[in-house]
């Protein structure tokens, strides 16, 4: 193992643990970072390691979002009582294969036996709809193991691979079973945090791992968020009509989708 690629503060005591990975920066609905941040806070996650960014990220300059300088990072937290290892990371700009192996090297060191990646999937659903979680497995037995969960739906898709799909593929080569969880995110909330998507994911993980999470505050966040959109619908007829169509199961054409997304982005 190339330990110079990590800063390891402590190797946690985990056994047959699960690694949960959330990508920050471009994640639809900010599902991954939202879930990881919540778990770190509620389960008392301890920061145990960090991947050295130098070989994997461009340092040609500094990017900034909303006036804030962004620094690429890849941090691990351990929740020993819950037997979870958590990773929140930016997606590397190059040497992805080495980077993903680096993650799995540390997971090996921490006795990780299962991999879960968390991402939002843009969908033509309304924000008031219940959210399905689309799944992509790298191991048929693992798919069977989670087959009883009704909220999970198998994904069929071809296209450009996300970092999670690449990580799943690398994990399979190393014999680590894993699944990518893709909760649906209404397309018009794709570029902002979607609390209902985060809630759907956490509810599933809560049952799967028996975490007994206190998620009432998330329910409140969802209600508050929906109320904000309701107020917007009352003020703006176009927004109301578009969302109404989605709620009734109709689809929107491309121009209507762009307009709704732009309106929500500018007015919410």
């Amino acid at each position: 193992m190339m330990t110079d690629r990590f800063d390891i503060y402590r190797v946690p005591r985990l056994q047959e643990a699960a690694l949960l990975v959330g990508w920050q920066g471009r994640d639809i609905g900010e599902i991954g970072p939202g879930v990881i941040d919540f778990l770190v806070e509620k389960l008392g996650g301890e920061e145990v390691a960090e991947v050295n960014p130098e070989p994997f990220f461009s340092f040609d300059g500094a990017s900034f979002i909303d006036d804030i300088i962004q620094v690429p990072e890849s941090k691990f937290w351990a929740c020993e009582e819950s037997n979870l290892l958590l990773l929140k990371s930016d997606e590397p700009s190059h040497a992805q294969y080495d980077f993903l192996n680096c993650i799995l090297d540390f997971a090996d060191k921490c006795q990780v036996a299962e991999l879960y990646t968390l991402n939002g999937a843009p969908s033509l659903v309304a924000h008031t709809s219940s959210r399905r979680i689309l799944t992509l497995f790298n191991d048929a037995q693992f798919r069977e193991k989670l087959g009883a969960f009704e909220e999970l739906e198998e994904m069929t898709w071809e296209g450009p691979p996300a970092a999670s799909s690449y990580l799943l593929w690398v994990a399979r080569r190393r014999g680590l079973p894993g699944v990518s969880l893709w909760p649906e995110v209404p397309f018009y909330l794709a570029v902002r945090s979607d609390p209902a998507g985060v809630l759907a994911t956490l509810s599933f993980l809560d049952i799967l791992f028996g975490l007994e999470l206190q998620i009432e505050e998330l329910h409140e966040q969802v209600e508050e968020f929906n109320a904000r959109i309701d107020r917007l619908r009352q003020k703006n007829r176009d927004i109301d009509e578009a969302i109404d169509k989605l709620e009734k199961g109709f689809t929107l054409d491309e121009k209507e989708q762009v307009k709704l997304t732009r309106d929500i982005y500018e007015l919410l």
Binding site: H94, Y97, A162, R172, K255
Partner: protein, 309 residues
């Protein structure tokens, strides 16, 4: 990680012919045509993940079926007791999404390719690409060679329509062959192999467009055919050339008159008195300006299409 050999060949006295994507896909089209016409069989490949990011994921019913990476494959063919190894790369390894190979990864891949050739008794390496020149698009593109020794240069010059770089009359005594086409030659020469890069001419202004240039691929294919002493039917490239010529002519006809007159004077390039560097710079400046205005006009028309009705 590295090279996967699916079929051991144990060749002696073989020759290696390589190609990658580049300007006008000139080398890639020529070498891939040669490979398929000679029914070369795949015998190995370079594992891609060290060099390339995946381009596609295929998922079925919740299962990750596969990731698709750019392929870098070795092929073998025997032509009249002559062992030919082909290496065809779908992409050049490069940092930051550049078209041409560069950096440590590129050097590593070049070494891998040459090492497979050496393990199979290779004595000579050919690469193929584009030579951006002052040729007119109505002229037959020449094949311009850069070689590893004077002896090989003299041998190349014997073939019809093949010229050495220093002979093409544009002050090209020095230069750089970018990407793996050049890097591979350096590595081959360093390891004691003969090496040559055969480049089909493409007009300078067309090198900045996304079109393939089958006319130059045909010249390169004919050169390979002559060098290897084999009959290769290259007529299939004529119909592709005709299609591209229609597009090229439609742009050419819109050139401002003074630019077109200056450009047309290139047709005398095969005669004594080549176009000067200053004239070439003038052409570049004016044609680039013209292409830019054409693109802006096109963008403006597209913007109109996007307006809500």
């Amino acid at each position: 990680m590295g090279v996967v050999i699916r079929r051991e060949l144990h060749l002696e006295n073989s020759e290696l012919i390589c190609s990658w994507p580049g300007i006008g896909s000139i080398g890639l089209v020529a070498v891939d045509a040669l490979r398929s016409r000679l029914r070369a069989r795949m015998f190995g490949e370079i594992e891609p993940w060290e060099f390339f990011e995946p381009t596609k994921v295929v998922a079925r019913e919740g299962m990750l079926e596969k990731l698709v990476f750019p392929r870098s494959r070795f092929y073998h063919s025997v032509v009249e007791d002559r062992d030919l190894i082909f290496f065809v790369g779908e992409e050049q390894p490069s940092l930051g999404g550049k078209l041409y190979a560069r950096g440590q990864q590129a050097y590593r891949m070049a070494n891998m390719v040459v090492d497979v050739a050496l393990a199979n008794g290779c004595r000579r390496v050919y690469t193929s690409g584009a030579c951006v020149s002052l040729v007119h698009h109505e002229m037959k593109p020449r094949v311009v060679a850069v070689v590893s020794s004077d002896e090989l240069g003299a041998e190349m010059k014997k073939h019809h329509n093949v010229f050495l770089m220093s002979d093409i009359g544009e002050g090209r005594d020095e230069g750089v062959i970018t990407g793996l086409n050049g890097l591979l030659l350096s590595v081959a020469r360093k390891k004691g192999l003969e090496a040559a890069c055969l480049m089909g001419e493409i007009p300078d202004w067309l090198s900045r467009t996304p079109f393939p240039y089958p006319k130059a691929s045909k010249s390169v294919l004919e050169a390979f055919s002559s060098i290897l002493g084999i009959e290769i039917d290259s007529s299939f490239l004529d119909s592709q050339s005709e299609e591209i010529d229609k597009v090229v002519n439609s742009i050419y006809e819109k050139f401002p008159r003074d630019v077109r007159e200056m450009y047309d004077s290139r047709k005398s390039l095969a005669q004594p008195g080549p176009i000067s560097r200053e004239e070439a710079e003038w052409m570049k400046e004016h044609i680039d300006e013209f292409l830019k205005s054409l693109a802006e006009k096109q963008d403006g028309e597209n913007d109109d299409d996007d307006r809500p009705v």
